[in-house]
């Protein structure tokens, strides 16, 4: 191949790249606050978490821009007085793509902050990028505690509690209500999230009930959709408690296939993240199922002006859809950012605050969310802890809704590890320094 062709091909490539380079500088600084939301708009995560989360973010951004919609302190216009420009990025496509997208978001498209990630691998991969580029990244859903327990970050935050409390709270409920729990079984998706949940739950159970023993552990593939054999195995082992961290379509399929086989009779199935299937399943959701919502979200949310506004606005805007944990966790994160940016802007004489100023404002922040009072308590003020609640399902034919009854609420310090203790060790040591009400 003659040199000339090399040159041609090469220059072609170069010119495209450099052109894009220019394009990027153009749109970097505007007098708006560009907020990127990364969440699943396609694939298995879209229905239950991705799209509802994006809806929630979009709704809040619009409300901020109109101003005066939310109760104080969130009634100020925009973010730090700046108009919010929120746009969504699909989380589907693997970590390489996500890291590329994150770099594009900060570097090319000039986003001032990004809130995102349902998948733990994307959280793990994204955090160092934000740190390297010194840009704000708020993780809103991924479960793994590894992020702030294995690393320290300045610009990365998680405005929601990690998955440990979901399982500790569940175990505590079982203990507190003295439910039969000597024989414990579990069915969890066979990937990191499922395995972490099961480890936490099983160890918590053993700590809280020394007679508890594991009767069966099942590991369906994520996205399997077929649970016939697992259900048989569970029925056969006949444990008194069946723990599961299945979610979304998998959880729905599991319930649809398990209910007619009496899996939910004469035992408690404990679903740590269940509220998002209440509305889709409706009357198909069995009664007396032990459920959590990864925080005081959805049906567990305590009455407050903010929560009333949130639920009403969401149902109004999205055709009667009831907000579940994903919208709540997103709202929680967006509101944390709102508060921090407002604070930082005020401190900055009303001018657009820098990432460092926002980071400072976020560190150790305490704020009100629809899900109650949240506190950046762990990871040097970067990892939030929040209260959690567990209850039993009850179908209400009148309201045509699945409600939660016999709810137990657990203070944040009761179900989350204290500062500088790894979740795993905290559970293994029997919850030292836990402050329960």
């Amino acid at each position: 191949m003659p040199i000339t062709r090399t040159k041609r091909l090469l220059s072609a490539a170069i010119s495209t790249l450099s052109l894009l380079g220019l394009a990027q500088t153009a749109c970097a600084q505007g007098q708006t606050f560009k907020l990127g939301i990364v969440t699943f708009t396609s694939g298995p995560g879209a229905e239950s978490f991705g799209v509802p989360a994006w809806n929630s973010a979009k709704m809040l951004a619009d409300a901020f821009n109109q101003g005066g919609q939310l109760p104080p302190p969130y009634d100020k216009i925009g973010l730090g007085g700046l108009k919010v420009e929120a746009s969504v990025i699909d989380e589907n496509g693997g970590t390489t793509k996500q890291v590329q997208e994150l770099r594009n978001a900060y570097d090319r498209d000039g986003y001032d902050a990004v809130i995102g990630y349902i998948s733990s691998s994307n959280c793990l991969a994204g955090a160092p990028v934000a740190e390297e580029l010194k840009k704000i990244l708020i993780l809103f859903d991924c479960g793994t505690p590894r992020i702030f327990e294995d690393n320290k970050y300045r610009y990365v935050f998680r405005a929601t509690a990690h998955a440990t409390m979901d399982n500790v709270a569940m175990a505590r409920y079982i203990a507190k209500r003295k439910l039969k729990s000597d024989d414990v079984g579990g069915i969890n998706p066979d990937y990191a999230y499922g395995r972490d949940n099961w480890k936490d739950f099983q160890q918590s159970m053993v700590k809280l009930n020394d007679k508890a023993k594991i009767k069966s552990e099942l590991w369906p593939k994520f996205g399997a959709g077929q649970y016939g054999t697992e259900i048989s195995a569970l029925l056969q082992a006949n444990p008194q408690i069946v723990h599961t961290s299945l979610w979304g379509g998998d959880l729905q399929a599991f319930i649809l296939q398990g209910a007619p086989r009496n899996l939910f009779k004469d035992r408690h199935v404990a679903i740590i993240a269940a509220d998002h299937v209440f509305q889709p399943l409706g009357s198909r959701m069995p009664n007396d199922v032990l459920v959590g919502a990864r925080g005081e979200n959805g049906p567990f949310a305590a009455k407050s002006a903010l929560n009333d506004w949130f639920v009403a606005a969401y149902e109004k805007q999205f055709a009667g859809q009831v907000p579940s944990q994903a919208p709540y966790r997103m709202a929680q994160s967006v509101l944390a950012l709102k508060l921090a940016v407002d604070k930082a802007a005020a401190a900055n004489g009303g001018k657009k605050p820098t990432a460092d100023q926002i980071a400072d404002a976020l560190t150790g922040l305490e704020w009100e969310a629809p899900s109650g009072r949240i506190k950046m308590a762990l990871g040097d003020g970067h990892q939030a802890i929040q209260a959690n609640a567990i209850g039993l399902t009850k179908w209400n034919p009148a309201t045509k809704r699945v409600e939660v009854v016999e709810v137990e609420r657990f203070a944040a310090e009761c179900v989350n590890p204290p500062v500088n203790v790894k979740s795993e060790e905290w559970i293994a040591q029997g919850f030292p320094e836990a402050k329960c009400n």
Binding site: W219, G225, T229
Partner: protein, 299 residues
Amino acid sequence: MQLVTTILLDGLIDASWIFIVAVGLTLIFGVLNVLNLAHGNFYAIGAYVAATVAGWYYASGDNPPAFGLVLMLGSSMLVAGILGPLLERGLLRFLYERDEVILVLVTYALFLILEDATKLIWGVNPYYAYDPYSLFGDLKVYGLTYVGYDLMLIVFAIFAGIILWLGLNRTKSGKLVLAVIHDRDMSSALGINVTRIFVIAFTIGVFLAAIGGAITAPKISVQPGLAVTVVLLSFAVVVIGGLGSIEGAAIAALVVGLSRSLAIHLWPSAELFIVYLVMALMLAIKPQGMFGAVQLRKI
């Protein structure tokens, strides 16, 4: 005894499902030598169509429930019957003279396109068709409740298998299909209209995938992301059974179903891996699969 029965029964139910879902892929592979990565999307489309129809049909409670199932199957078949020829005539046929692997790439592109297409048509909110699931009641086997619908799956799979077998071995075009599977070049040399066979085979393949989706719809929540798992599972079945062998697919489905049920009951932590494990063993022992012929380039 109870455990054995349960393992066998669960394995059989699983195998029936796997067979219906996977056999279409084998057929297409055998005839067109295309590893159809979009197979799972046709499954998903079948499920969506069925669920949509079920939604309309059961909306008014007084319709006879049994007919709903028929309607679901019929409608998904109909859509497959349109989609199959459309894609084969409209796209694949232009590429047959290209390298086979390009066709794999084409189906990969199809996979990407259909992923979003289904989402744009049906959105991300779930669709349900659970009414037929309770159609056949349920019964107790050794004290374990089984849903009649799942047991009917076994009957359905055997039925489908027999129809397919008869269709291939007892009808003229079926025999032609087998001839093409056996030796493509020879068949065209003998003047068999291979392209016509391609349309037939591809359509039947899409057909079966869609039916798989339709019969599964009642027991799942139909929503984005159905495709990937199915295509991987079917792919494993094709490899285990031997590339392009129908009998192979049947046996492989049984092997996978039973080994999965064995694993879940006796060695649960291996569930995710068991299919790959069987596949690996098969590759190690008989790389061309149980019923596959060694396909070395002649030397």
